[in-house]
Structure formats: C-alpha cells, structure tokens
C-alpha cells in the first residue's frame, strides 16, 4: 500500500508547529514516513507529552518514605506495610464522554483500571468525579444518565466496587462535562511490575482484544482519503468490552505470579505507539515490531492505523525469552489472544515492519528527550479582581431559615446523589466497610487489620475565585475527610481539568492551581504519586471553571477504628469542632440562594487544620467517637442535616442548644469556613474526648444530645427529619428525568 505524501497540510493536520516539524526532521535526519509522522506527532501531542504542563508539574512533591513509585509510571504506588502497597491513579475522559456518554465513561473506567493492574495490582476500588452542566440544560439529563450507566456498566461487569465520588452541576460545564475516573489496586511489594522493555532479544507480546480503527483521532482522519475504505464516515467512538477486560485482568493476575515477565504496559492513549515507545524508553532499549502479526478486527488496516488505533482492552508485554510458553498457556486458559509481535533490541531504534517494508525507523530516546516543552505565557485574568469583590451587606437575609435549609438540601449540589451510586456495585469484593454517602469510603484489606480510606474532592467555585487557594483547599478537604473516617492521609493523585492552555489566563489558572496543590501536599505530607492533565475544556471560547480534582488515599491501621459520618446512638453528645466565622465568599449558599459566585474562598490556618485532623484520627484510634463529619459545602446547617440523614432514610435527630455567634444567622449557618467538624461521642467517652481536645488545642462547642426525629436550632429552625429527607433525596432523580 502506497503511503501518502507528506505535505504542509498534512503536517498541520497533525498539529505540529513549524518548530516541532523542524525538530522532527533533525531527529530523523530526513523526512518522516507517513507512519512516522503519525507516531511522533501523537507522542508530541498535548495528551501524551504534557508539553504545556510538564514544566509546572515538576513543582509537585512526589517523594516520601511511603512512596514506592511516583509519577512517570502507569500509576503511582504507596507502601501500607505488611509487604503490601496500594497503587492508584485518576484519569479524565471528558471529551469522549460528552460525545457518547455511555461509551465515553465506560472506556474511561476501563482505561484507568488497566493503568493500575498493569502495575501488578489487583484493582479493589473505583471512584469518580463528575461535573455536569446546569440541571436545566437540555443535554444534562441525557449526559447524566449515560455517564452513570457507562461507569456502572463497565465497573460492575468487571467486578470492581465503585465506592465513592462526587457529582455536581454548574453552568460552567454546559459544553464540557468532566468525567474523572480513579482506580486503586492492591499489590505485594515483590509483585510490582513496570513498563520496561528490557533484555534485547526478549519477545514483545500483544495480548487482549483485536485492533480495529477505533479512536483514530482528528488529525489522522486525513488518512481517510488515502485508504480503500468506501464508507462515508469512519467511526471513531471506542466501545468498551468489560468482559474482555475482566479476562485480561484475571490472566494478568495469574501471569504476575509466574516468573516469566519482564515488563508490561496497557495500550492507552495512542495505543501501541505509546506503550511500545515508553517501554523501550524506560529501559533504554530499542524495539522491532512486525505489524503483520497484530491481530486485527477490520480489513486493510494501514501501518499508520495499527500504530495509532485506540482499541480498548489490549496490553503489551515483554517476556523472558524461553518462558513465552507460560504466557501463552495462561492466556489460552482464559480464551484470550496472545501473539509475539516483535522483540527488544539494543540499538535504541524503534523499527516498524509491515508487508515486507520498513515503514518506520526512529530513535527511541530522541522522541521523548526532544519532546516539546513549553513555558506558556501566563497572565492573571482582568476579571479576577472583580469576581473577588463581594458586598455582603447587600445580600437580603432570608426570612425563614428553616425553609432556606430545606431549599439548600434540595439544591442540585447538596442533595443526595444516591441515584448515582445505587447504580454502582459498591459492595462486590466484600470489603466496603464505609459505603458511599459519607465523608470517605473505607475498604478493608483482607488478611490484615487494615483498611484504605478514599475520597475525591474539589470545589471548582473556589478555584475560579482563587485557583491557588482553591487547589490548596481541595487537598486540605480531602485530608480532613479521611481523618474524619479515621484514616491517615498517605498520598494523592489528581486530574487537572482546565481550558485552553494557549490562553495566558488559563495558563495562569493552571500554574496557580499547581502551586497551591503542591504547597498543600507539602503541608499535609501527601505527595503526588500520579495524575493527569486535561486541557482544552472549552466551548465557544468559554472555559470551564478550573477544576483540579484531588483523590486521596489514606491508611486505617485497624478497621475497628473506622468512624462513620452519621449519628449512631441516642443520647450521644454532639460537639462542634473549630470556629465558625460565617465566611460566605464562594459558598454554595451564595451561589444557590443569591445567584452569585463571588468573593474569596475561605482562609485556612494550616496549623489549626492539621491539629484538627490529628485530633480526629487520635480520637478515632482511642475509640472515643460515634461519628465524625467535616463541615464543607453548605456550611454548618447542612453538615448537621447530613449527620441526621442517612442515604436510606431519616436517622437520628438533634435539638441544638447553642447560640449563633456571627453577624448574621444565615452566614453562621451556611458559611463555609475550613477546619471544622461535627462529632458525636457516647456519655462514657465524652470526658476523654474533651481532655484530648484540650490537649490538642481544639475549640469545641457542645451542641446537644442525639435523639428524636427533628433537627432543631431554636429559634432559627425546627424541622422534621422526614421532611428534610424528602427534600434532600428527590432532586437528582428529577434532574436525571426519572
């Protein structure tokens, strides 16, 4: 098959700048072949090369005694003792999910699962962070239904519990929803695998699904006019096959127990190209691929298509020469394909053979060493000062705070999202000790006393008003959520969702957020071990709110210490921890009730926050707590309501005996300060708890005793829990159109 001529249009369609093109010529010492053009330009795309973000990501703290693998691999790894480690990463699938919500979200889950199990880890928990447009937007119900069904369809089928996440709605996502999927796996220290193509002569083996023309992207559509294909439109939407991935997962798990594997990597973005090149690059080797050996699903595929296809459920592995049979035996047992498609070489070249021709011969190292990296211009948006202004006095004070509380409970972002997670199998594996609906999910680690706490957080409004502070607060809140459940924060992964980085304002937001996140990770001792950047979340020139989602994992030393967030026992004492200042800037209340996104996010006193978190963990360990819930979106009143209401129905009430200490009662109830929590404690434990609070310098206020079927804070409100539950639980199903 004749490959097309390299023309200036073709170069442009591959997204290369003049300088990048020149660099490509220098590396090769000649013009690239069509296939080489596809391979190198996709490795240099924003998605693969992180060319706009790399320079900033270097600011993240990535090390610590607990870190076994930081960024740079398919997923990061953290030690949890007992020769065990957890492996996790989060990744975005925003654009595909907007185009085809079910398949986009499903393949997002499939992709992140592979990133984790390719490291040798068995996935034990999934999370996801979802941002949709405003509830009334005509596409929102369709997108919400499709995305949730897609996540459920994939995760449930492969049998990994989806134990938590967040679902929010805001007009800023009308044209660009966010679907960020997280997977955490468990691995023994001596069973960690990495993407290394070491040992010249070793066979390169392709396993899993056949290759089709799935997901061959925009620029590459140029190839259409050169192919023999007659059909009008070539499908680019990838369809997930969770059953195939389940088989792949089990086969790989069996393989990891054998001593025949050198390296392994999933085929994610840009499929075979990136997995092969990255494996050779890490090992400092070369590779020859015989593309005729690739199992295909469609006819007449070109070398270009084989290299760039993003067909799902495929992995590339390098085995020890002589031990291949073990690989083939295991894959045959699982009725899967496995084919030797190439071998490792020592000359540092990436050589592609197809139909008797050499269609590519590129230097491995140069492609990554010479990958473009930009320090793109930044500038603080002109409107930033303006949105930070807030005239609090001009806000009308609601006449009936009880009604306001009910309204807030029914608001899209505060209401119960059980409609979402009821569709996720969150109990398979029989490890989920804290199910969705609380601050953090907790899964136990069978065979030990330990458990893993998990949470994903970000307040995009805060990040819009002040990206640096917002990103900092996301990390702080994640750590607080884990501490409430009794888990010690260990490390984070992140998904940095932003607009177009070529715009200085967006780049400024990005750089600010990275700095804030880096600082917080330093302060809270939670290094960044993996992550993902998603740029170009813009429609008609309007970008989403900067949304640096943070997923954090923590360690529970003893599952007996785990604390839930709802009131548990009649008669327990309820304490408010931390001070309530009535900060209203950037709050859900300001946005939902007053229709304003303005002001500054709340300030944080890091020392005070860390003390609170230490207190929560110590109290959990000493078994002094019946429940603990952090105060975040919606403020004190919403947090109290969430302590009383359980996902399955009204729980235990509380009659608060406490005074409002703020200029305005609405600010007191709905303001969003940091470093606060509500805890409950039995009459037997309360003294010890107070002593501990005194010792750690935690401000406490006694709010009353758990009991009854109302939440009352006289004279401001007095509501029946059943009415509150009704308000809280009806909204999301309505948005979805059920």
């Amino acid at each position: 098959m004749e490959e097309p001529k390299i023309t200036p249009e073709l170069i442009r369609e591959h997204g290369l700048s003049n300088e990048e093109w020149q660099r490509m010529l220098d590396i090769l010492g000649r013009e690239p072949t069509f296939t080489e053009l596809g391979v190198i330009s996709s490795m240099w795309s924003e998605h693969c090369s992180y060319k706009s973000s790399r320079i900033h990501l270097k600011k993240f703290p990535t090390e610590g005694p607990q870190v076994l693998q930081g960024p740079g691999e398919n997923a990061g790894i953290v030690d949890i003792g007992d020769n065990l480690a957890i492996c996790f990463k989060m990744e975005s699938h925003n654009h595909p999910s907007y185009i085809e919500p079910y398949q986009g979200a499903a393949t997002g889950v499939g992709g992140i699962l592979r990133d984790v199990f390719t490291m040798g880890a068995r996935p034990i928990a999934n999370l996801n962070s979802l941002r949709f447009g405003e509830p009334d937007h005509p596409k929102t119900p369709y997108l919400l239904q499709g995305v949730v069904a897609g996540i459920a369809g994939y995760g449930n089928c492969i049998g990994v519990p989806t134990v938590g996440g967040e679902t929010t709605f805001d007009p800023s996502y009308n044209g660009n929803i966010l679907v960020n999927a997280f997977t955490l796996g468990l691995v023994r220290h001596d069973r960690i695998f990495r993407g290394f193509a070491s040992g010249p002569g070793n066979p390169v083996i392709y396993v899993g699904a056949k290759t089709g023309r799935d997901g061959i992207h925009g620029a590459t559509m140029a190839s259409e006019e050169f192919s023999d294909e007659t059909e009008a439109k070539r499908p680019t939407v990838q369809v997930g096959d969770p059953f195939m991935e389940k088989l792949l997962l089990e086969a790989c798990m069996e393989l990891f127990e054998k001593d025949c594997l050198v390296g392994i990597q999933d085929m994610g973005a840009v499929g075979l190209t990136s997995s092969a090149l990255e494996m050779a690059e890490r090992a400092g080797t070369g590779m020859v691929l015989d593309l005729d050996k690739i199992p295909v699903r469609e006819e007449n595929m070109t070398a270009y298509e084989l290299m760039l296809s993003e067909s799902q459920e495929r992995m590339l592995l390098v085995a020890k020469r002589g031990q291949e049979k073990q690989v083939y035996d295991i894959f045959r047992k699982w009725d899967l394909e496995a084919h030797e498609v190439g071998r490792v070489t020592d000359d540092g070249r990436f050589v592609l053979l197809y139909k008797g021709e050499k269609v590519g011969d590129m230097p491995v190292n140069a492609i990554s060493d010479q990958a473009p990296m930009y320090d793109r211009p930044q500038s603080r948006p002109g409107w930033q000062d303006e949105v930070q202004q807030l005239d609090e006095e001009s806000l009308p004070e609601p006449a009936d705070l009880g009604k306001t509380l009910l309204d807030m409970l029914a608001s899209p972002n505060l209401s119960l999202d059980k409609w979402v997670w009821r569709q996720y199998d969150h109990m398979v594996h029989t490890n989920t000790a804290r199910r969705p609906g609380g601050d953090a999910a907790v899964v136990r680690v069978k065979g030990t006393r330990k458990g893993i706490g998990l949470t994903v957080d970000c307040n995009p409004r805060y990040c819009y008003l002040d990206p640096r502070a917002g990103a900092y607060l996301a990390v702080a809140e994640a750590a607080r959520n884990l501490s409430c459940s009794g888990a010690l924060p260990l490390a984070i992964t992140d998904c940095l969702n932003f607009g177009n980085p070529e715009k200085p304002e967006i780049m400024w937001q990005f750089a600010q957020a990275v700095e804030g996140m880096a600082e917080a990770c330093q302060d809270f001792g939670t290094p960044v071990i993996s992550g993902n950047v998603s740029f170009y979340n813009e429609t008609d020139g309007k970008a989403i709110y900067p949304t640096p989602a943070v997923a954090m994992a923590g360690l529970v030393e003893d599952m007996g210490h785990v604390v839930g967030s709802h009131f548990e026992h009649d008669g327990d004492h309820v304490l408010l921890l931390g001070s309530t200042k009535g900060h209203i800037g950037g709050s859900e209340y300001l946005s939902f009730v007053h229709g304003k996104v303005a002001g500054l996010p709340p300030k944080i006193d890091t020392d005070c926050e860390k003390r609170l978190q230490r207190f929560l963990r110590q109290a959990a360990k000493d078994r002094l707590l019946s429940s603990a819930h952090d105060i975040s979106d919606g403020g004190l009143a919403i947090a109290l309501a969430e302590c009383c209401l359980k996902p399955e129905g009204p729980g235990l009430g509380l009659v608060v005996k406490h005074e409002v200490r703020a200029r305005r009662s609405d600010f007191f109830f709905f303001g969003e300060g940091t470093s606060r929590a509500i805890v409950s404690s039995s009459p037997e434990s309360i003294d010890a708890l107070m002593t501990l609070a005194g010792r750690l310098g935690i401000e406490t206020a006694h709010m009353g005793r758990v009991g009854g079927d109302r939440l009352a804070f006289e004279p401001h409100f007095n509501l029946a829990l059943s009415d509150m539950y009704q308000a809280w639980s009806s909204t999301v199903p309505k948005i979805a159109g059920d």
Binding site: N156, G159, Y424, D425, H426, M427, V428, T430, M559
Partner: protein, 232 residues
C-alpha cells in the same frame, strides 16, 4: 463441610464466596474452573454472582453450556445442595434447573442496595436458621433480577412452598413499593421441587460479617452447615 464454588469467565463473586466459606464459616472450600467436567466430593456447590460471559446475549445464557454444568446437574439430581446467587440464579434458570427467567429490572437500571426480605419458609436446607415469616436485610446488586414465570409455574411454586424469599417492606408487608425490580409476586429466591437447589438474587455473602454492616447472610450459610451436619 466441603464447598465448591464455580468460576465462570466473568464471575465476580467467586472469591467473595470463597472468603465467607473459608474465613467466616471455616469450611473446606475451593474454586472450580468452568472447564472441568467432574466435581470433587462436595456437600455444596455455589454458582456465584458476577457477569458470566459479560452477561452478553442474556444473563446466564452462555454459561449454561459450561463443561462443568452437567456435573452440577448430576450433583443436584442426587440431592446435593446447589446455591445460585445473582448471576448464579440466572444461570440456574437458563439451564432449566429452576423455572422462570430473570428479566431486566423494571427501572432499567442497575440497583445496588440493601433490601428487606421475608423468609417465607424456614424448613429448607438453606433457611433453617431463620424464623418463618421473619424479615431480614440482604443487599442486591443486579440489572436483571425481575423474576418472571407463567401463571401455572407461579402457582406451583407457591403451592409447593418453593418461594423462599420475597422482597418486603421493613414491617414484612409484601407490596409493590417494596419491590425493587418488578419481580412477579415480589419473588427474590426460589428452590427446586426437592428444595436442594436455591436461586436467589440477594447476596448473602455480602452481609456475613459485622464489619460490612450486616450479618443476616451468615445465617443462610449456617443453615446449610447444620443441614449438612445433621445428615452425616
């Protein structure tokens, strides 16, 4: 107590059942690969939950042709205990070991949550540690749990006391509001004529330890154990 748990391609709850059998119940338990043709000596065979063959075509439709199934059928015919949970129940119906069919949930959505179940009969090998008429809580997690059978079959199931579990309200009332998936007569679990084969949509293995927030499921495994022990 010897228990075998069949692993089909796509089984997800095989290890969960193994965990309960071994670590909670202390049984001699093992996994059995679907390509086997013979069963070792056993007292109980579990067909676990999951998505055998991706649940493609129809749930259980492809798994019913597994090499191991004739052996399971023979085991059941000789009176051996067979427990099909969720996908296992679906496989049992597709294989004709239990009547009826599990259709798509009425809501067309996957549902994962704790439900209330009424134990209709405590005289089966699977329910002796419950009280007849008792209300218990066990989670469900399925997309196809909507039990369907023709009227004659339903009548026979009822007359023969083979409906062992029904979805109910917290107070035990059987009504439409308590029916999560549209099952006829709120049916959640049925047995074969000789009561040694049980298919149920709820997952007892998910609530057999206090740390998971529920322990009613363990009583089902305890019932099985005492039934088997009484017979040796």
């Amino acid at each position: 107590m010897r228990c075998g748990i069949v692993t089909f391609p796509g089984s997800n709850c095989d290890h969960d059942c193994l965990h309960v059998a071994q670590s909670v119940m202390g049984w001699d338990a093992r996994l059995i690969w679907h390509k086997e043709k013979k069963l070792p000596p056993l007292d109980l065979v579990i067909l676990p939950g999951g998505f055998s063959y991706g649940d493609y075509l129809r749930c259980g439709a492809i798994a019913r042709f597994a090499s191991i199934l004739p052996a399971v059928q023979k085991f059941a015919a000789k009176g051996g205990l067979v427990l099909g949970i969720c996908n296992g129940f679906q496989i049992l119906t597709e294989a004709g070991m239990l009547p009826g069919k599990l259709m798509r949930n009425r809501s067309l959505r996957f549902i994962c949550e704790y439900v209330n179940l009424k134990v209709e009969h405590a005289d089966s090998p699977f329910t002796s540690r419950f009280q007849g008429g008792e209300t218990i809580q066990i989670p469900i997690a399925h997309m196809e749990g909507n039990y369907f059978a023709d009227t004659d079959t339903l009548k026979r199931l009822e007359d023969e006391g083979r409906v062992l579990f029904r979805y109910c309200a917290p107070d035990g009332e059987i009504n439409a509001a308590a029916n999560p998936n549209g099952s006829q007569r709120n049916i959640a679990g049925i047995s074969n004529e000789s009561k040694n084969v049980l298919g149920m949509m709820p997952h007892p293995e998910r609530c057999s330890e206090s740390i998971l927030g529920g322990e009613h499921g363990r009583r089902l495994f305890e019932s099985i154990q005492s039934w088997v022990e009484e017979r040796v």
